[in-house]
Point group: C2
Chain length 679, copies 2
């Protein structure tokens, strides 16, 4: 096609397969860019950063095919060779140094591609381009000399404009304080850390790399953090702690009350969460073997109350109608202003919220799961102490919040406990004998395989006896009790069913189910499921269901095509049992996707891609929030949803497994019609 | 011209005399604006702020002239009347309320004009428009209600956009924290304090006024502050303190050394100046009867070392060639980040500098004095521990810095003291008898009128005996000694002159002049002027003169048309004596202007007008800094300038008063020529 005698050569770049004619003598970096393939380069072509390495597959395209040779590239200089040897990569070339001197077939390895991506496998698989707010560039600055009075910061700005085309910069006062010694220490070669291509937040001597970010989901109960490499997007550490505010109140309302009833309430709770965030940053940094000062940005999601408290803003107004937020929009504030001990120039980005009771955590879920960019009607539910519910189609999104309370997390349940070793997480009840078997966290054996007793060697006994029951176990036991006929559709223990696992009081009015015997229990007392426990689950699931139902009614749809279950609880529950209980409306079981901590994923996405922050803002403005609690239909829907799985809504996908006994026909709609006529 | 039956009327606005046709029913505020007369209004026409009061001079223009009547305005409403009564201004009208219903002649009093000005009387008189970075506006915000999820900050932004056309705002985290309670306390009516129409830095309930700013000149020896009303420009308080860094070193070099030689040197000196600034703010606020938290901005000038230290940036690089600044440009940084205790949202604006040794203080002088916008060749000198010298024409500006040392401030002088009560500030020596008379600060009587002794009643004795001699006194005594023939042109005491006021050692080699007798002195010992004292003044004035001379040589000019003496020292010295000593080059005495603390004035101007900040930046880029110390001619000029008043440069304006004895002709130029030929 071409020869060394002509001015152009053929360049083929793998794996993209891009090809084209490039000029003789161009660097591979320039040539690839011309063909639309961006190769990473932090040092700007100074053979320092080693980020632009490529494999030379072949040179010389002959009539007979491709003959192996790399003589079609300029010979490596000593600098390049030294750099490649240092990296143990002598079979590669630096694309900023190697010049095209003939036809070439080049492979750009994943790590050298400028447009890095992470792939998120969830309800749908998608890729997120790595384009964070923080980036590092290497510059060579003009040395200060007599007669030039621009100032060192001016000289650095000139260098950044000339070498990186970055203009109109500000500099953080902390970076300015370090500027002069750093320039001299690095012999006027420095690595600059930029925020949003707008502010210099750090200057380090010479060529340096290592910019990290922390994404955090501030839950009422659990604070989860994800430490990421801001250049590659790689997840380096995941750390979580209990939210220490739990000691000031389990649910949001009690925390809000704590801030309004005590003069130092806000101050204390703010200090508690900032402490926790600092602890997470320290732990994550330690586990990834980096310094905490290398964390240049933190992105935060959380419910509105958590976000207000962490910003040291009183959540008082969220506690009562009209539930006004101090700020719904995204915020950027210096992390040091919040008391966070990261890099002194680090930014804290707080994602936007939707409404008084649907916060940045839900925006994070939507950013991560993108239900509105998927086909069909999708119900997205994030279950925690509050449940956030979003119903969406490609054309609209409605959101609501339901106060499900702590039952799904084991709270207000007689034997409830958090998901920890020994907690019962799986339950099966034999439809014939009504006898239970279960599995606890930390032991793969079902309880009916357990060998317990003085004559059993210790290593054959279960690793953990049953200490209680966690959220997913509670859903399963209620579902199984109902499927076995032990619970009637209205959630009462059925006195007509006689079985060894039931305990009844004298007049058979108050029953309890023995899930684990005294022998199977770590406390020596049986683990019981009481009528009150079932009621607590009914109340919680009815609140959630009724919220979803109001959204369905408002958008005029009868059924959903897909259900996304976000949050830790949503990940551990079995979709079938959730549906049997009536936690979620009917849906094909294969179309129910537990997606884990999607709120945290959203925080991570916003950390790694600054365009996604704008998208988050769009989402928060697009979602139409429905105040379900004041909806005239809510009470009726709530009452109907108390039934197992529901008083009137059909569950065709459960037809084969639900008990045949039909509940009494719903009186709800009739009553409502009467009320409306009376009004 | 018009009548009530037509749709327009004639409106004449005094004192501007603007006139035109305006629509029937318009408010006076709107009508005046249409005619190009801006009347102040903080409340946006809600009859709350009382800032738009006008006098109604006449209505009804008849053929015979103007008939007095104000029936051509709508009748005042109860609200307006109540407001006017409250202000004791029932003879006026609120222009936001009164509507035009006929021809009118209106006077807009000074205080109601939106474009306020302050007038600066200095070398030239000029006015400065009041247009500060900080302004306050009153807004009425939509109340939060169910179903509207914009957030309170969003609602405030909407109100500011709609009622004041202010967009794209950020909010300081401290203001955001107070936003919700403030909106409710003010019943959704609030006064918003804006910085640069870009950031909300305060929100107060209801209608409030009172935004103040502090302009500060951070001198090596004295820190002077000016508290201003940011709405009217009024100067409310002037306070100054000694720079407490003096205890770490008198001059700049010793302070720089202190920061480089001690690990905690910078930290200590930074804490000292921040403390001093806080003290000044507290004092100024107290004296103006305002709260320190009402100070919303501080503007700062100072030499480059002072500015570096107050920003907590090491001044190390300024201490040695090439004298690199960390930053030459203007800076805005939250005052709280510097440890300043003003309003928590207050900004600190630091003016730009020129070069390593010519700082923001000199930019302040140029901003205040505008020598480059005046006719002719002007020498501007700001004398402190360092002297900053600017030579300018309408087409160019050159600047230089000369290390004059502390002699002009009384340092390194045997009887030197700061300008305080008892310091000798004026000196006259009788040309015949060679006897001195003097005046001390704090007593208007010359010493030859003093009555001292046991038989004199206490109230007839001088208020202060002589405690020492201050800067202006030193210049005068040296000049008078020279004029009286007691000093030879090379600065030695003349042994040939015999007089009672001279003390000589045995071989008449070491002389001293008795300026005040033991009886006139508060110490009981005579106040002496020694040979060393004269030498110190010669060295200081030679450094200053040589700097100015190099600038004159570089710009190819022979003489200056005007001399501006800035700084406290420059204000107190007598121009004639300064010229006799040879501190400044020859100039008509009426063209020498002492202008006081022009650097502080520059800080005040930048505080009151944000466009002036841009102008300051232009100035700092326009001035061409000349490193005089490394100029090959400097040494020679310095040596020549050691003479009184100068070895070779003529002083035609002093012809009548200088001693006729001519100094030996200069060898300087000849020597230099020889050196050049040898090279």
């Amino acid at each position: 096609m071409s020869s060394k005698n002509t001015r152009t050569h053929t360049l083929i770049l793998m794996p993209s397969g891009r090809r084209g004619q490039v000029e003789h003598g161009q660097t591979l970096l320039e040539a690839a860019r011309q063909l639309g393939v961006e190769i990473e380069s932090i040092c700007g072509g100074r053979q320092t950063c080693d980020k632009c390495r490529v494999h030379v597959e072949d040179g010389e395209f002959t009539k007979h095919g491709i003959a192996s040779s790399d003589s079609h590239l300029s010979s490596p200089t000593d600098t390049e060779l030294a750099q490649l040897e240092k990296m143990g990569a002598t079979d590669q070339r630096l694309s900023c140094a190697a010049r095209v001197e003939g036809d070439l077939l080049i492979t750009v390895p994943e790590e050298s591609r400028a447009q890095k991506q992470i792939i998120r496998k969830t309800a749908t698989q998608r890729t997120i381009e790595i384009a964070p707010a923080v980036r590092q560039v290497y510059v060579e600055v003009d040395q200060a000399q007599l007669g030039f009075h621009r100032g060192d910061w001016g000289r650095l700005q000139d260098a950044l404009a000339e070498q990186w085309d970055i203009h109109d910069l500000a500099i953080d006062i902390h970076a300015l304080r370090r500027l002069q010694p750093t320039l001299r220490q690095g012999d006027w070669k420095v690595t600059v850390t930029l925020w949003n291509d707008h502010e210099v937040i750090d200057v380090q001597p010479g060529y340096q790399e290592g910019a990290y970010g922390l994404a955090v989901d501030v839950g009422s109960t659990t604070v989860a953090s994800y430490l990421c490499d801001l250049r590659t997007g790689e997840l380096l550490a995941t750390e979580s702690v209990m939210n220490p505010q739990v000691s000031y109140g389990e649910d949001l309302m009690s925390r809000i009350s704590y801030t309004t009833e005590r003069a130092d309430g806000l101050e204390k709770m703010n200090a508690a969460i900032i402490d926790a965030l600092n602890k997470l940053a320290r732990r994550a940094a330690r586990s990834a073997k980096i310094a905490r000062q290398q964390i240049y940005e933190i992105s935060l999601v959380g419910n509105t109350t958590m976000v207000h408290i962490l910003l040291n803003i009183s959540p008082k107004e969220i506690g009562g109608a009209p539930f006004a937020l101090a700020n719904r929009d995204a915020m950027d504030v210096k992390a040091r202003e919040l008391g966070l001990k990261l890099h002194p120039g680090a930014n804290a980005h707080i994602l936007s919220a939707e409404a008084g009771h649907v916060g940045a955590d839900n925006v994070g879920v939507l950013l991560a799961e993108q239900p509105h960019h998927q086909e069909g009607i999708i119900l997205t539910v994030d279950v925690g102490t509050n449940a956030e519910i979003v119903l969406s189609s490609p054309d609209w999104m409605y959101s609501a919040s339901s106060p499900t309370g702590p039952a799904f997390e084991g709270g207000q349940i007689t034997a409830g406990m958090r998901a920890a070793p020994g907690a019962i997480e799986r339950v099966r009840i034999d439809p014939e004998t009504k006898a239970p078997r279960f599995r606890v966290i930390g032991d793969e054996h079902w309880s009916d395989e357990w060998l317990i007793g003085n004559n059993i060697p210790a290593d054959q006994q279960p690793k953990h006896l049953a200490g209680g029951i966690c959220g997913s176990g509670i859903i399963e036991v209620v579902a199984e009790l109902y499927l076995a006929g032990l619970l009637t559709p209205d959630g009462r223990f059925n006195p007509k069913v006689d079985c060894a696992s039931m305990q009844w009081d004298q007049d058979k009015r108050k029953g309890a189910y023995i899930l684990a015997t005294a022998q199977q229990s770590s406390t020596g007392k049986p683990v019981l499921i009481t009528q009150n426990d079932v009621r607590a689950i009914q109340l919680a699931k009815a609140a959630l269901y009724a919220g979803a139902k109001i959204l369905m009614m408002r958008s005029g749809i009868q059924s959903v095509d897909k259900i996304i279950l976000a949050g830790a609880f949503g990940s551990y529950i079995d979709p079938k049992h959730a549906m049997v209980v009536g936690l979620i409306p009917d849906c094909s079981l294969e179309k129910v996707y537990p997606v884990g901590n999607a709120a945290g994923d959203g925080a991570r996405i916003a950390l790694l891609n600054r365009d996604k922050r704008l998208e988050a803002g769009d989402i928060s403005r697009q979602v139409r929030y429905i105040e379900t609690a004041v909806d005239p239909d809510f009470q009726e829907e709530f009452v109907n949803a108390m039934h197992l799985p529901h008083r009137s809504d059909p569950y065709p996908h459960l037809e084969d497994i639900l008990p045949k006994e039909k509940p009494a026909p719903s009186m709800g709609r009739g009553r409502r019609r009467q009320r409306k006529q009376a009004a």
